[in-house]
C-alpha cells in the first residue's frame, strides 16, 4: 500500500491540484484534507499546504486559513514530528499559525513576481534529505518577502532553522531567506514552488528533490 500524503484545501487554494499531481508523480498516494474537517495524523506519512490565495488574501495572507478547523490537526501532526510542508501561501499560513517563525510581507517593489530562481539549501530537514548544492525552482508571489526582527533572524541562524536562501534576492527577503524550518526540522515553509518543477518539460525537475524526501 502506498503511503498517503494529506493535501490541505482551503477556499481559494489554487495549487492544490498541482501538488496532488506532484505527489502522484513520485508514486505516493495524495489525499484531500478539507479545511472544515479534522483527521488522525497516524494514517499519513506527511502533509502539504499548497499555494494559492486562501480566502482571497483578505485580512492578511494566510491569516484566515490559519484559524480553520483543519489546522488543529496540522498542529497535532507537527507536534508529533510528521513532515509538514507549506508552499507559498501554505508557508504564509504556517507562519500565521505560529508553526514557523517570521512573516511574509509585500515584495520590496510591491509587484507580483513570476520567475525561476536559484536556491541554496542551508540545512537538512525532513523535506530535503537529498538536497543538492543548488536547486532551481519557480517563484510566483506578491507577498514573499521574508521578514523577522533582527534578533529573531540571528536566532534562526543560530538554531539552524534557515532552510533555503535565494542566490539572487528577487523580493527583498531579509538575509535572502526563501524557506525556514522549525526547531525539529519537520515543519518547513518555502516560497518557491517545487510542484512546478517536477519534469524537464516544465523547464526543470529540481522540485523532485523536495517531494521525493517523503519517500524516506
Amino acid at each position: 500500500m502506498k503511503a498517503k500524503v494529506g493535501i490541505v484545501r482551503f477556499l481559494g487554494t489554487n495549487c492544490d491540484r498541482d501538488v496532488y499531481q506532484a505527489v502522484a508523480d513520485i508514486d505516493l498516494r495524495p489525499e484531500w484534507l478539507w479545511f472544515e474537517d479534522q483527521f488522525d495524523p497516524k494514517e499519513f506519512s506527511g502533509f502539504i499546504l499548497p499555494g494559492g490565495f486562501s480566502y482571497g488574501d483578505y485580512l492578511r495572507c494566510g491569516a484566515l486559513a490559519a484559524k480553520a478547523p483543519v489546522m488543529k490537526s496540522i498542529h497535532e501532526a507537527a507536534g508529533k514530528g510528521y513532515p509538514v510542508l507549506g508552499i507559498c501561501n501554505g508557508f504564509q499560513i504556517l507562519c500565521e499559525a505560529g508553526l514557523l517563525p517570521g512573516a511574509l510581507v509585500r515584495n520590496e517593489k510591491r509587484k507580483f513576481i513570476d520567475r525561476w530562481v536559484e536556491l541554496k539549501p542551508e540545512t537538512q530537514t525532513k523535506w530535503s534529505s537529498k538536497a543538492r548544492a543548488v536547486i532551481r525552482l519557480p517563484i510566483a508571489h506578491g507577498e514573499g518577502r521574508y521578514y523577522a526582527e533582527e534578533a529573531d533572524l540571528q536566532k534562526l541562524w543560530d538554531g539552524d532553522q534557515v532552510w533555503m536562501t535565494y542566490r539572487e534576492n528577487p523580493n527583498g527577503s531579509l538575509q535572502n531567506i526563501a524557506g525556514v524550518t522549525n526547531k525539529n526540522k519537520n515543519v518547513c515553509g518555502l516560497m518557491p514552488h517545487p510542484e512546478r518543477a517536477m519534469h524537464e518539460w516544465m523547464g526543470g525537475s529540481d522540485g523532485r528533490v523536495i517531494m521525493e524526501s517523503l519517500l524516506g
Partner: protein, 713 residues
C-alpha cells in the same frame, strides 16, 4: 427643445428607427422595464447589429468544431478524448475609465465564458494596445491594466501564458484590453450549453449578490467616448477573483455530476441577456421573480436588477429533483443558490416584482429580432501600395530601446505563468505551450499587428490569421482554430466600415485556406474618442497542436557553431518601420502560397536537425536575429542584407549542417528562397560590415522599458 420621447431614447441609447421597430414588434408603445430590456439587448455589444451580416463570412464546416459562434465559447475536438474551449473578448471601454477593475473584470468575464461550457480554464492570454507613454494618464493605465490582469488571473489560479502589447498614438484616448481564455475538457467531461429546456425546471441564480455596478454597461460600451467619459466610472464593475475561484469549482462540479440542464454567465447586460438568450435558444418561457434575486443593497429596483453587471454570477436551469444536490455543492464551496422561478412552455418571459407581473414579453423579439444594419462601406482598394520602397537606416540600439521594440518583461513577470503545472513554454517564448493530459502540446499565439493594419486593412486581415499560424508552424504545431476580437472605430463612418469589411473578409479567407476556423469572438465598435478612431485592430488568438513537448525548437540560439538560415516567401514587403515614419507596401499576397509556406515550415520544424526557429516580424531581419541572442551566444552574418525591411513571410532556422539540404529542397518545391546567413558564435553580433557590442544591445533592450515608464515600480 428635446421631446420627452427623445430624452427617453437618449437615456436608453436607442434611435428613432429602433423605437419604431419596437412599436411594430410589440404592436404598441414600449412600457416600463421593456425600455431597459430593449436598450440592453439591442445594444451593439449584445446584438452585433452592425457586424452580423459580415460575421457570417467566417462560417465554414470543419469536423473538428464541436461548438461555434452562438454559444459562450467555441469548442474544438483534439482527438484522443481531449477537447478545448476558447474565446477572446474585449474590455476596452471599462479599462480606459477604471484600468484595474476594467481589466480584472475582463479576465473574470472571459473565464466564465469558458467554464460555463464545462471546461476547466487552463490558460489566459491578453492583447493590449496602449497609447504613447507620454500621453496623459498612460503610465497609470499601463500600471492599472497589468495589475488588474495579474490580480485577477493569479488569484483565480489560471496561468497567463502569453500576450501581445502594442503602443501607438491612435490608442492615446482609447486603449484596447482584450482577454483570451482556454479551457480543457478532459476524459468524459460534458460540453454544456445555454439552451434552456423542460417546462417546470427551475431557473437558479448562483454566485455573488447583485448591486448597482455596471448598470447600462453594455450600452455604454457601444458608444464613443466624449469629454464626459470620467462620469461613466460608476458603470464599471468590480471583480472578486476569490469568488470566481469558488464559482469555477462549484459550477464544474454540478456540470460534471450532470445536475444542470443549461448554464450561462451573467455578463454584459447581466440577468437580462442571460435569461432572454437562454429562453430564446430553447424556445421556452421563464417566470422570474426579480425580488428573489440576492441583493447587496435592498434599495436596488427591478430595472437595475435586470441591467446590473455585478460580477461572478451565473444563471442555471435544473430539474426540481436535483435542486437540493445543486444547493449542497454550492454550499460546500461557500456559495448560495437561489431559485428565481421556473421554465414554462412560454414563449413569453414573465417578470414579477413582489407578486405583480411587471413585464410579459417574447424573448425572441429582443434576441432574434434585433435590428440588423448594412452599414455603408466601399469595396477595398489598397491606398498605400507603392512601386518601390526604400529601407530605413538600421539603428539597432534605437529600435531595441524604443517602446515598440523593448522587452515586455516588466509586464509578464507580474503574471503567474505556471499555476496549473501544465506550462511548457511561457510569456518569454514566441509560442506559449501547455501540456495536455495525453502528453501532447497545445500551442497558443496571439495575432493581428496594428502596424500592418495601418499599412493596409486587407493585408492586415490576412496577417491576423497567417502570422500566428506561421508562429505555431515554426514550432512544429498544426494550426487548428481561431478566436477574434474585432476592435474598430465608429461603424457609422464608411471609411471605418470599409476597413472592417476588408479585414473580416481577408481573415475569413485566410482561416478557410488554413482550415483553421474562427470559432468564437467578439466585436468592439465605437473605439473612438472625440472623433479620433483607433487603428483598426482585429486581434486574434490561435491554437495549434503538436504530438510531444520535449523537442519544440527554441526561440533563441542554443549551440555555438550552429548554422543560421533564412527561409523566405517572395510576396509582400512592408517598410520595416513602426516608429511613425511613412508607411507602404509592395507586392501581392497569395493566400494559397502563404498557406503552403506555413505547412512547409511546420514540417521542417519537426525535423531533428532544427534547434531554434524565429519568425521575422516587426522591424525586420536584424531585430529578429537580435532577439535570438542570449547572454553568451550571438550570430555572425557574412554579407549585407535588407536589415530593416519586413517581408511577409520569412522564418529563421537554426541547426546542424543536415538542415541545409532539407531547407533547400523544401524551398525549391514551394518557390521560396533559402539563404544561409551565417553561424552562431559566442559573444558576437555581426551583420555584414557592421559589428555590434552584444552586451550593449542587451542593455538597450532590457532598459528600454524603464526609459519610457521610469516612474513605474
Amino acid at each position: 427643445m428635446m421631446s420627452e420621447l427623445d430624452a427617453k431614447l437618449k437615456k436608453y441609447r436607442l434611435s428613432r428607427d429602433e423605437y419604431r421597430r419596437m412599436e411594430e414588434l410589440l404592436g404598441r408603445a414600449p412600457q416600463g422595464v421593456e425600455w431597459a430590456l430593449f436598450s440592453a439587448l439591442w445594444s451593439e455589444h449584445c446584438s452585433y447589429k452592425s457586424s452580423k451580416v459580415h460575421l457570417r463570412k467566417f462560417a465554414f464546416k470543419s469536423p473538428r468544431v464541436l461548438q461555434s459562434m452562438g454559444e459562450n465559447a467555441g469548442v474544438i475536438d483534439l482527438g484522443q478524448g481531449e477537447k478545448v474551449a476558447f474565446k477572446m473578448e474585449s474590455h476596452n471601454h471599462p479599462s480606459f475609465i477604471e484600468p484595474y477593475q476594467g481589466a480584472a473584470t475582463g479576465v473574470g468575464g472571459i473565464l466564465r465564458d469558458i467554464f460555463t461550457m464545462g471546461a476547466r480554464p487552463i490558460a489566459l492570454a491578453n492583447y493590449l494596445c496602449f497609447g504613447e507613454p507620454s500621453a496623459p494618464r498612460m503610465s497609470a493605465l499601463v500600471d492599472g491594466v497589468v495589475a488588474g490582469i495579474a490580480g485577477y488571473g493569479n488569484c483565480v489560479g489560471v496561468p497567463t501564458i502569453t500576450g501581445q502589447t502594442e503602443f501607438h498614438s491612435s490608442y492615446n484616448n482609447n486603449i484596447l484590453v482584450n482577454a483570451l481564455a482556454v479551457g480543457l475538457f478532459a476524459g468524459d467531461d460534458p460540453v454544456v450549453t445555454s439552451q434552456a429546456k423542460g417546462s417546470g425546471n427551475l431557473v437558479v441564480y448562483v454566485g455573488a449578490k447583485t448591486g448597482r455596478d455596471g448598470v447600462h454597461g453594455a450600452s455604454m460600451a457601444s458608444e464613443s467616448f466624449d469629454e464626459d467619459s470620467e462620469s461613466k466610472r460608476p458603470t464599471v464593475q468590480i471583480g472578486d477573483p476569490f469568488y470566481e475561484k469558488l464559482l469555477i469549482e462549484s459550477c464544474l462540479e454540478v456540470m460534471k455530476r450532470d445536475l444542470v440542464v443549461a448554464i450561462q454567465d451573467m455578463g454584459a447586460a447581466g440577468l437580462t441577456s442571460s435569461s432572454f438568450e437562454m429562453a430564446a435558444k430553447g424556445g421556452v418561457g421563464f417566470r422570474i421573480h426579480l425580488d428573489r434575486v440576492p441583493l447587496r443593497d435592498s434599495t436596488v429596483g427591478p430595472e437595475e436588477i435586470l441591467l446590473s453587471e455585478s460580477q461572478e454570477r451565473m444563471l442555471l436551469i435544473c430539474e426540481p429533483s436535483k435542486f437540493d444536490a445543486v444547493k449542497e455543492v454550492f454550499h460546500h464551496w461557500g456559495l448560495d443558490a437561489q431559485a428565481l422561478g421556473e421554465v414554462w412552455d412560454g414563449p413569453e418571459i414573465e417578470l414579477y416584482w413582489r407578486g405583480d407581473l411587471i413585464c410579459k414579453i417574447d424573448p425572441r423579439l429582443l434576441t432574434d429580432n434585433a435590428p440588423v444594419y448594412e452599414r455603408p462601406y466601399h469595396p477595398w482598394t489598397p491606398k498605400n501600395k507603392k512601386a518601390k520602397l526604400s529601407a530605413p537606416e538600421l539603428n539597432l540600439p534605437e529600435i531595441l530601446s524604443s517602446i515598440e521594440g523593448t522587452s515586455r518583461r516588466w509586464i509578464y513577470e507580474q503574471y503567474d505563468q505556471r499555476v496549473g503545472a501544465k506550462t511548457v513554454r511561457d510569456c518569454e517564448d514566441s509560442v506559449a505551450v501547455v501540456r495536455l493530459p495525453s502528453g501532447r502540446g497545445l500551442g497558443l499565439v496571439l495575432g493581428a499587428r496594428p502596424h500592418v493594419m495601418r499599412v493596409d486593412a486587407q493585408i492586415g486581415g490576412y496577417d491576423a490569421a497567417f502570422y500566428p499560424a506561421l508562429e505555431l508552424a515554426a514550432k512544429g504545431f498544426q494550426p487548428l482554430a481561431l478566436t477574434d476580437c474585432l476592435n474598430f472605430g465608429n461603424p457609422e463612418k464608411p471609411e471605418i466600415m470599409s476597413e472592417f469589411v476588408a479585414a473580416v473578409e481577408a481573415l475569413a479567407k485566410a482561416s478557410k485556406t488554413l482550415d483553421a476556423p474562427v470559432i468564437s469572438g467578439n466585436v468592439s465598435f465605437y473605439n473612438e474618442t472625440m472623433g479620433q478612431n483607433i487603428t483598426s485592430t482585429p486581434a486574434t488568438g490561435m491554437v495549434g497542436l503538436r504530438d510531444e513537448v520535449l523537442k519544440i525548437p527554441r526561440s533563441h540560439f542554443t549551440i555555438a557553431g550552429d548554422n543560421v538560415y533564412l527561409l523566405r516567401l517572395p510576396g509582400v514587403e512592408l517598410l520595416g518601420d513602426q516608429m511613425g515614419r511613412s508607411q507602404g507596401f509592395t507586392g501581392d499576397l497569395d493566400v494559397n502560397k502563404v498557406t503552403q509556406f506555413i505547412a512547409t515550415v511546420k514540417d521542417l520544424a519537426l525535423t531533428d536537425s532544427v534547434h531554434a526557429t524565429r519568425v521575422c516580424g516587426k522591424f525586420g531581419l536584424a531585430y529578429a536575429l537580435y532577439r535570438m541572442c542570449t547572454d553568451t551566444l550571438g550570430v555572425n552574418v557574412g554579407s549585407d542584407m535588407d536589415w530593416t525591411k519586413e517581408k511577409l513571410y520569412e522564418v529563421i532556422f537554426v541547426g546542424t549542417d543536415a538542415l541545409e539540404g532539407s531547407l533547400q529542397k523544401a524551398a525549391s518545391t514551394i518557390g521560396a528562397e533559402c539563404l544561409k546567413l551565417g553561424s552562431v558564435q559566442e559573444k558576437t553580433f555581426v551583420l555584414g560590415k557592421r559589428s555590434f557590442d552584444l552586451a550593449q544591445l542587451h542593455q538597450s533592450y532590457r532598459n528600454g522599458w524603464r526609459m519610457h515608464f521610469g516612474q513605474l515600480a
